[in-house]
């Protein structure tokens, strides 16, 4: 339980000109938010955190930051891969060659012995 400031009567109202009601409400708001957000026995938890070795704290921080930065990159990567797979699959369906699903998804040309020896120069006229 967080306590409001002991000296909670604003003695310097002439400096800022905000109504005492509004100042009181601002203080009430912060105390209410604080009590909602803070878990019980905060001092105990602070002491436990302080006792954790500084190296572990540093590693924890680096891990957290890496995960935070990597998450959107991972999501974007998955979207790009899926889009490419759909594009390849769609393109492969348009030609009449017999392709395996893996070839279709990966966008690979069908390689057969016949195709390898089938040399055509029609397009280079």
């Amino acid at each position: 339980m967080i306590h409001p400031r002991e000296n909670s009567t604003d003695t310097r109202q002439e400096d800022h000109g905000l109504s005492p009601d509004l100042v009181r409400d601002l203080r009430r708001m912060v105390v209410a938010e604080c009590n909602r957000s803070m878990m019980s026995m905060p001092a105990e938890r602070v002491m436990r955190a302080v006792r954790v070795s500084p190296a572990a704290q540093r590693i924890g921080f680096v891990e957290r930051e890496l995960v935070n930065w990597f998450r959107p990159v991972l999501a974007l990567g998955i979207i790009v891969i899926m889009a490419l797979a759909v594009y390849n699959f769609d393109l492969s369906r348009q030609n009449d060659q017999l392709q395996t699903p893996a070839e279709m998804v990966l966008g690979l040309q069908p390689v057969t012995v016949a195709a390898a020896y089938d040399i055509e120069f029609d397009h280079h006229d």
Binding site: R12, S19, E33
Partner: protein
């Protein structure tokens, strides 16, 4: 190792902490945790990260206590750290918002136990006030929190934020003007001069 009790002075607590006395640091934490929690919450608003930021403040204090020269009060030193850590958390939030634009901005709300109409109105008013505070730029918000909510003097606020006295006054004036404007709107809580 020197013994400490409730009547120990700041200097005694700091000296004992630097000698490795955990009990001394616990007393420092207990002495300032309310102020730090209120300052951090004032800057950030309710949320699950408040607890972490408060812990970060005291961890940093524990690590940098040897740099405390005693030129200002320990409280000034601690509250300055609380403001700096809050500003770091605000920047982290902004970065996350930029990286994860799909994440929603609604404030974190634990389930209300008593959902009576009067209580709901009151919570709506306080939520409106929070939105008004969140609209203030970081510098003005820090001054408003320290000066109006924590009731520090202008000199103390200038010392904590390490800015000139005149800057505190101008930021306070601009911050208060903005709060007045927002809370005076017909839909705002200031329709009768305050939220009460």
């Amino acid at each position: 190792m020197s013994k400490v009790d409730a009547s120990s002075t700041e200097e005694q607590l700091i000296a004992a902490t630097l000698q490795g006395n955990d009990d001394a640091f616990r007393r420092i934490v207990e002495r300032y945790i309310d102020e730090v929690s209120r300052t951090v919450t004032g800057m950030l608003g309710a949320g699950p990260e408040i607890d972490d930021v408060v812990q970060e403040v005291f961890i940093k204090l524990h690590r940098s206590l040897h740099t405390f020269r005693g030129e200002a009060a320990l409280k000034t030193f601690v509250i300055r750290m609380a403001i700096n850590k809050s500003l770091d958390a605000l920047r982290r939030r902004k970065r996350m918002r930029w990286l994860q634009p799909w994440s929603h901005d609604d404030p974190w709300e634990p389930p209300a136990e008593d959902a009576s109409d009067a209580r709901m109105d009151r919570e709506e008013d306080l939520a409106y006030l929070r939105k008004a505070v969140n609209q203030l730029p970081e510098g003005q918000r820090a001054v408003v929190i320290l000066r109006l909510i924590e009731d520090y003097s202008t000199e103390e606020t200038a010392l904590i934020l390490d800015i000139p006295y005149g800057t505190v006054l101008s930021r306070l004036k601009r911050g208060v003007d903005k709060l007045k404007t927002i809370t005076r709107k017909p839909s705002g809580p200031g329709r009768s001069g305050g939220v009460s």
